[in-house]
Structures are given as structure tokens and as C-alpha cells.
Subunit: 284 residues, 2 copies
């Protein structure tokens, strides 16, 4: 196995996890946007992160990033689109690459993780999260591309170069989609429908018939990302030690449930790494 | 009830709890030494408190104290020696005073909490934690006074003024005990023995016959402090939301178990307050 620990997520939980993974001298890979958690840096004023009175979200994000940089920790900016159990560990698909790790710590946050009605039913049957992996399947076809982050806009254009017709759904501000075969749809999908395969993306006031849909987002719904992961009302089920129902998979932060608080997330990131290290030493 | 929440403990968990109790506009009382957690300020270097890279324990303690002061939060420096269930809440005995609160958050740490062998068996039957409460019971008798902190040295002298003979056991450096009837014993007790009542304090190489023993320490063993509290291998049993087996009592930090880490403690302090507030709103 290439890595001892794969940590997914760049919020307070992810940062806390990587800091400890580094101190504990584990081989780890950290998947996170270079900007760290977008939600974090948008928070206006954080009064209850002990030790940092009255910081803005931007300042807190900066100081967390600075903490990582001071320890020479850099994230891998690829988005993980699948975590698969393999012998002795897990294989993580990210962009065109795959990475192997003995344990996985999910610090996915909560906002990005809400699946759209019907989304889970059509994964692998018309719904894909990876343009570079599955784009070629839709050559000459009609697809919808729902994108939550400007970072992934180049993937919309890539898909436009393959498909015949693209309904592009940018769920962010300041989109610049230039492809001629793209029809921009400025509303969020509310449902995915179909039979054996996806057939329709439903919006509040109508629908589009499609052969497939790409969902380009920073974080997938946990149960979609990790097959068989137990969730409870949208949160990952964890024990006190941040272990999940899958041996070797741990979770921390908002994705494990309320309260959605930075220091709760940071605390769990710490606990999750310590549990992962204990797991590693027991399963050598 | 006088207070919504009573928070006991001045480490990272306690600080995190009071900050949130203040923000959430609850009536609370905070029991902690003005110096905050002694263990905290003694830590050499803390590298894994996210956002504060490479701080010493002293600097972390200072910044936590500063956070409290910036919000006008001051601790009550009395030591809580008993938490009793009363109608609609809890009564907390501290020094000569008692305080009433609807909920209690225990942030007791872990070091001070280890009971000596036999200690729990003789509570109220020869063992006391409160010189001012029970001292008069031992007028003219022979007692042992085991003291873990220089802060409580004046209580040894008070007990010497009442008892006939005192075996004084200072478990700290730089003791100055001047009473003529005090015999200084420079080793820690390993066991308490007796029949219906305490009869002997046992040391590694002998014992002293006593009528009673006072244990003057900053934090009591959780199960002694709160009658009926469920513990597991010396830690307070808590659920994911930091609730204990007693409705209205929550716990956070090292006293709930490993890993013994500042940010884990701070995270749990946050969770415990949110759970206490939810409990308060359900039990109005």
C-alpha cells in the first residue's frame, strides 16, 4: 500500500487530521482544495474557536493553512470520486489517478454532501461524478452537467467537446461557458428520473431529457463516495472513536453530525487520526 | 434554579464550554482555578492545536485565558466537592457554599481524577474532601491530610488547629506547613483500609492509624464527585453528544477518555454545551 492514511477534506477536521498524521509520522495523502474549505473562509465572525477570539472565517482559514504550510503539508487538489475496498485497504479514484491507502478519514463537510432526490439510484447508470473517467461514454449524446464550483468549469467544456448537446447547470456565480452546444440552465435540479437508466433531469418548472448527467462537485454524498457506508439522516454514523461501520474508514467534522462547529470538527479530526493509527498498528 | 449550566474545570474543555455558554446567553457558573489547567500550562510544546502552530503550553493557557477575559468570563475559584441531584437539577457543594444548576458539565481532566485504592469505599465514613465542611468532626482526633496542590495548604493548617495530631502529606513541591502537631509524610498513600469506617492510611512501607483523612485536591474522581455516574476504566462514560448516564450531566475532555489532546477536549466542550442547551430547551 502506497499510503497509511488518506484524508479527504480541507475544513477544520481535515486540517486537524493532517497535522496529526504528520506529527505521528504516517505516510498520508490529503485531498483538499488549495483554498481550504470554502464554507470556512466565508464565515463572517467566529467567536468560539478557543484561543482565537473574534477571528473572521477568512482569518481562521488563513491560520489553518499557515499551520499546514509551517509543517510543509500540501494538499493534493484532485477531487476524490470513489473509495473502493481492495485487499488490505482502499483504492481512491481521483481525477485520472488512483491511490491506495490502508485507512481513509472522511472530512467531507455537510453542505456539499446532500444528494439530490434520485441521485443515488442512478450512480453508474447515467450519473457520473468524473468527466475524465466517463466522458467518452457520452460521445455524440445528450447530457446534463451540474457543476457546483467554478474550479470544475474546464470539465464542462471538456464534456461539451464530446457530447452532442449539453445542458450546463452552473450553480456558482460568474460562469463563463463558451461551448456552442451548451444550453445554460440557471436553476438547480430537484430530481433525477428514469427507468433502468437515467432519462430525465427534473427542475422546478420542467425537465430535460438526457442520456446521462455529470455532477461536478467538491464533495460527494458520503454513501455514494464509499459504498456500504452507514449513514443516519444524512450524516455518517460514527462511534466515539470516529470509526464508521467499515473497518479502516473513519470520519470527522460536520459530516458526522451536529453541532456544526469548527472546534468540534478539529477535535474529531484529531480523534480520527489517533484511531486510524491504532487500527494500523493492530493490522500490521 | 440559580444557573442553567455549571461547568467544572479549567482546561481546554472547560474554556470551550464557557465560551459557548456565554455566546448562547445561558446563565452559567464556571468552577476553575484562576491559573487554568495546571497540566496545560506545563506542556512543553503543542504542535497540533490547529491554528496555533508551535505554541508552548504556557502560551496556549494564556491565549485561552485571554479569550475568556475578552468575553468578560471569570471563573469561581472554589473547588467543587460534591454534585447532588435535587428536584429540577443539581446542587453543587463548593467550599462553604452551595450552588444550584439545571445542568452540569464535567471537564475534570484525567490526572487528578484517579482515586486511591479504597478511597471510594470510605467517602463519608472517614474520608472527606472538604476541610471547612467536615473539619469540626475531627476535633481532638488523629487525621491524615493528603494535599495535591499548594493552593490548599491553608486548609492543612486549619485542620491542624482542630485535630490533636495530623499526618500531613503534601504531594507538591515547596510545602510550608508550620503547625506543631503536624508530622510530615513525604510519600503518596497507596491504600485506605478499615472496617465500617476508615482506620488506616497505607503507604508503600507502612501505615498510619487515623480517625479520618482529608483529601485536598483540585479535582475529585468523577464517580465520587457525582454519585451514580457511570465510568469505564476510570473515564466517564459518554455518548456521542457528551451526555452521561445521568440526565442533565454532560462531560468533556480528558475525563471522557483518550486521546488526551487539547483540541479533542475543546471540541467536546463545545459539543457538551450544545447538548446541555438542547436539554434545557426540552426540559423547560
Amino acid at each position: 500500500m502506497e499510503f497509511d492514511i488518506a484524508i479527504i477534506g480541507g475544513g477544520a477536521a481535515g486540517v486537524s487530521a493532517v497535522i496529526n498524521a504528520k506529527i505521528l509520522q504516517k505516510k498520508f495523502i490529503w485531498f483538499a482544495s488549495g483554498e481550504l474549505s470554502k464554507k470556512l473562509s466565508q464565515a463572517e465572525l467566529v467567536k468560539n474557536y478557543p484561543g482565537l477570539p473574534d477571528v473572521t472565517g477568512g482569518e481562521l482559514a488563513w491560520t489553518l493553512k499557515n499551520h499546514c504550510e509551517s509543517m510543509n503539508i500540501e494538499p493534493c487538489e484532485e477531487v476524490v470520486t470513489g473509495v473502493y475496498q481492495v485487499e488490505d485497504g482502499f483504492s481512491l479514484l481521483a481525477g485520472n489517478n488512483s491511490y491506495e491507502a490502508k485507512t481513509v478519514i472522511l472530512c467531507l463537510g455537510v453542505e456539499a454532501a446532500k444528494p439530490v432526490n434520485g441521485e443515488e439510484d442512478f450512480v453508474g447508470r447515467g450519473i457520473s461524478y468524473c468527466a475524465t473517467c466517463d466522458g467518452f461514454l457520452y460521445k455524440g449524446k445528450t447530457i446534463a452537467v451540474i457543476c457546483t464550483d467554478k474550479r470544475f468549469e474546464h470539465e464542462i467544456e471538456y464534456l461539451c467537446s464530446l457530447a452532442e448537446k449539453v445542458y450546463a447547470v452552473p450553480l456558482y456565480r460568474g460562469y463563463e461557458i463558451k461551448a456552442e452546444n451548451a444550453e445554460i440552465v440557471l436553476k438547480a435540479p430537484v430530481k433525477f428520473e428514469g427507468g433502468k437508466r437515467l432519462e430525465r433531469v427534473v427542475f422546478k418548472d420542467g425537465f430535460k431529457e438526457v442520456d446521462g448527467a455529470f455532477l461536478l462537485k467538491g464533495a460527494l454524498s458520503p454513501a455514494i463516495l464509499v459504498h456500504g457506508l452507514k449513514t443516519e439522516s444524512g450524516h455518517i454514523f460514527v462511534n466515539r472513536d470516529c470509526s464508521t461501520n467499515i473497518a479502516g474508514v473513519f470520519a470527522a467534522g460536520d459530516c458526522t453530525g451536529r453541532p456544526y462547529q469548527y472546534v468540534k470538527a478539529a477535535g474529531e479530526g484529531n480523534v480520527a487520526v489517533h484511531s486510524a493509527v491504532e487500527y494500523l498498528s493492530k493490522n500490521k
